[in-house]
């Protein structure tokens, strides 16, 4: 409860600061006088939401990102498992993948234009490529890090290749795979928006760029807020699905995180106490977030 309140406060504070800086036309090296205020943006937002284009843009972008991301998830997991489990696949696919991987997906726009008959497919292709590599890399690592005893146990029960894949490799690699999916969905948003800005028709990215070209700054901010909220929703969905599917993990970090508030709760009457309680509360909350994002950073580096 307290943690939710704190999160709302954090968002409200950010909005408040924005409103204050822009409505007071602060110009201290950073120039906020040209900046639309929160109320401007909100007014435009309300107008857009009641119009038809906003929802078309939204569904277009969502369709593109979901198609690309799901394709990337399937292909990334399949290729990752293949490369990790088969030396032949590693030798055949490894070099090609390693050469393509450093190329930013958005730099593939010319390739997409040459390859695909329509822009739509090109955008999905770019989104898919963007998410593919984080998923591939984390799947490969996760499969290689599996405890060998699990596989040996299944083999001595008479389990064959497919049984090992279904009963050991895929479930065992799942925590790592979801690390890659979390990174992948984030990268997908970056690329779908950029691709729409460059070559799209409809879509949140396209609309945002259009607004910019006609100097409709509140409109640009509506686009940015929309992207932010959608990105947050989709990555939360991936995160929740991941947690649900890997509930079997012994969450050692989670348990001590849940405990500290209990002794503190008895002290809550003291006015000073709630603050540190919340402090530790959010601390542990971001603690798991930190490991996630560390993972994410690692994947970016690789």
């Amino acid at each position: 409860m307290k943690r939710y309140a704190l999160r709302v406060v954090s968002l409200a504070a950010a909005l408040g600061l924005w409103q204050a800086l822009t409505s007071l036309d602060i110009d201290l090296w950073l120039r906020f006088s040209q900046f639309p205020t929160v109320t401007d943006v909100a007014r435009t937002f309300a107008a857009r939401v009641s119009g038809p284009d906003y929802w078309t843009d939204l569904t277009d972008s969502l369709t593109r990102i979901l198609t690309g991301f799901l394709l990337a998830a399937v292909l990334g997991v399949a290729t990752g498992v293949l490369v990790a489990r088969s030396r032949l696949a590693e030798d055949l696919l490894g070099p090609v993948l390693e050469v393509i991987r450093p190329i930013p997906a958005i730099a593939l726009v010319p390739v997409a234009i040459l390859l695909f008959p329509s822009n739509e497919q090109g955008i999905v292709f770019i989104t898919c490529t963007a998410a593919f590599f984080p998923v591939l890399v984390s799947t490969r690592h996760a499969v290689r890090a599996l405890t060998p005893v699990w596989e040996e146990a299944v083999r001595t029960m008479g389990g064959g290749r497919w049984r090992i894949l279904g009963s050991v490799v895929l479930p065992g690699a799942l925590p790592g795979v979801f690390g890659g999916l979390s990174v992948g969905i984030g990268v997908s948003w970056i690329c779908v928006i950029s691709a729409e800005m460059i070559s799209g028709q409809y879509g949140v990215g396209y609309r945002t760029w259009q607004d910019y070209t006609v100097v409709d700054y509140p409109g640009v901010f509506v686009g940015m807020v929309t992207i932010g909220v959608l990105g947050w929703l989709t990555s939360t969905a991936v995160e929740l699905l991941g947690r649900r599917l890997t509930r079997w993990l012994p969450r050692s970090a989670y348990v001590p995180g849940a405990r500290p508030p209990r002794p503190d709760r008895s002290v809550t009457p003291a006015a000073a106490a709630p603050a540190p309680t919340n402090g530790t509360g959010t601390g542990t909350g971001t603690g798991t977030g930190v490991t996630r994002s560390e993972e994410a950073r690692d994947e970016h580096l690789v």
Binding site: V149, W150, E152, R155, T156, G158, S167, P171, G172, L249
Partner: protein
């Protein structure tokens, strides 16, 4: 090759499960157990050299494990006990010589020969019962029967009420009991155990030994049990094999096996002294 060796247990087990589940239903609790005699296998090593390529651990091993016997294997750590077991399981190919099961060369792992590991070999994402169901699923037992049999085995090792727990929620000793249930649920004709109680405290370990003896009764399975604990080896085994640096040192018969009262039997005491001296040198 594997097909011919697998047909035997399969035909016997096709009739077996129905009988076992019937007893499981009629006599409600722990006493009920899927015990149907499965003929144990004979495992033979002839002039076998074992280990990883380039690093042989055991050389020129000649060993014959009789059907249905419990052979314990002792030796100093690093002498190749696990290598021997993994080779018998079919996870490692011999570097030289021959390994045979009932006279036929052994080519790879098979449900015939279950392996019980020292560490946690349970799949952590499967509940205890789902872990025990796994070998049954691999053998193609229908879901409902699989569930009943797994539950019966869990009850047999005293964990019937924790069937839905995840492995990391129960103690190390309980996990090893589940591993035992999982190994036996597949009705193997040989059970290969790699220091299964090595990580347990002394009291739990004695209880596990008694449980093992009780659970093995009636299965007729051949057992090869690796341990570094001489007393455990002498209690459980019909025979004890001593491994030394680079090879098999001796195989000795054990007087009065699986008899808790036999620890001060003069013959047992003498054998114990012999084993300890041979390990010491």
């Amino acid at each position: 090759m594997s097909t011919s060796s697998e047909t035997v247990p399969n035909t016997s087990s096709d009739t077996a499960p129905s009988r076992s589940t019937d007893t499981g239903r009629s006599t409600s609790s722990g006493a009920a157990a899927p015990t149907t005699p499965v003929r144990g296998t004979r495992l033979t090593l002839t002039g076998a050299s074992l280990g990883r390529p380039g690093a042989p651990a055991l050389d020129k091993v000649d060993l014959d494990v009789a059907p249905g016997e419990i052979l314990t294997v002792v030796g100093p750590s690093g002498c190749g006990k696990s290598t021997l077991l993994r080779t018998l399981a079919g996870l490692l190919a011999p570097l030289a010589g021959e390994i045979a099961q009932d006279g036929q060369p052994l080519t790879g792992p098979s449900a015939d020969r279950a392996l019980v590991f020292q560490e946690d070999a349970l799949l952590p994402w499967r509940a205890l019962r789902a872990n025990v169901e796994l070998p049954l699923a691999i053998r193609g037992v229908p879901r409902a029967r699989r569930r009943e049999q797994a539950q019966a085995w869990l009850e047999r090792v005293g964990l019937g009420s924790q069937a839905r727990q995840l492995p990391h929620r129960v103690s190390g000793g309980q996990r090893q009991r589940v591993q035992l249930a999982r190994a036996l649920a597949g009705r193997p004709r040989a059970v290969l155990m790699d220091e299964p109680f090595g990580a347990l405290d002394a009291q739990t370990r004695a209880g596990m030994q008694d449980l093992l003896v009780e659970v093995l009764q009636g299965t007729g399975a051949t057992v090869v049990f690796v341990t570094h604990d001489v007393d455990e080896a002498l209690f459980l085994g019909d025979r004890v094999a001593l491994l030394g640096a680079g090879g098999l040192v001796a195989v000795r018969d054990i007087p009065r096996p699986r008899d808790r009262g036999a620890h001060d039997d003069p013959a047992r005491v003498a054998l114990r002294r012999d084993v300890l001296t041979s390990l010491g040198t």
